[in-house]
Symmetry: C2
Subunit: 107 residues, 2 copies
DNA sequence: AGCAATATATCGGACGCGAAGATATGCTCG
DNA sequence: CGAGCATATCTTCGCGTCCGATATATTGCT
């Protein structure tokens, strides 16, 4: 398999599951998804979107101009959804493993 | 809070929950914990142990010589256990969030 | 008029990981 | 008995992702 996704990348993909979003909108959505814990920075965001586009996990969607400002939308590709599912499952296993170990805490 | 732990680091801490282990032993234990999915490399392992020691998440334990070879043991510190618990909880939230989104998949 | 918010983008540095290799010892099997 | 493999630690170098900072442009709000 591939490398684990880092936290910002994981949350970007998660945010795009429901519907296409534009970059700046993702900042607010990731903030919401993470309950204020993850504040996406521009450098991280746009770098990640370029990379994910190159890797085929997201794709450029429509463009809109609202209030004279360009919004560039991105959507999750099937490959991106698959990657997110795989990553979620990987994390789920690790959480399970660690939780079990931390419960049986006697040594 | 602090930065997320990367996968190898997370598994090293998890492996040390039960009892102190030496570096080379951790390679086998992480392999087992991850069901063969994560093969810890020497560069990653010893780099991580030095870093985690500096950060106070693990500490040097006893040293043994077995068959003429030195074994340098490390143990999880209270701070290390706390960091592992926090990280596990963080991942658990992300897994939950992503799982919910992926389930309600209609768009 | 001026400042915050919206929206995109780029650049440099930090940091963890992986690949590769160096070094040393002892066990095993042909 | 000798060669190779497993055990055990450690270092160096490059890469990828993220962050901090900065740049630029437009509109809304006070």
């Amino acid at each position: 398999m591939s490398d684990p996704l880092r936290e910002p990348t994981f949350l970007i993909l998660t945010a795009l599951v429901d519907e296409p979003m534009h970059g700046y909108g993702l900042i607010a959505e990731v903030d919401r998804l993470s309950e204020g814990r993850v504040a996406l920075r521009p450098g991280t965001l746009y770098g990640a979107l370029d990379r994910l586009t190159d890797d085929g996990l997201v794709a450029r969607d429509r463009e809109e101009v609202v209030d004279g400002r360009l919004r560039r939308y991105y959507r999750l590709t099937p490959g991106g959804e698959g990657a997110l599912r795989a990553e979620t499952e990987r994390m789920r296993r690790h959480v399970e493993t660690a939780t079990l170990r931390l419960q049986g805490r006697t040594a």
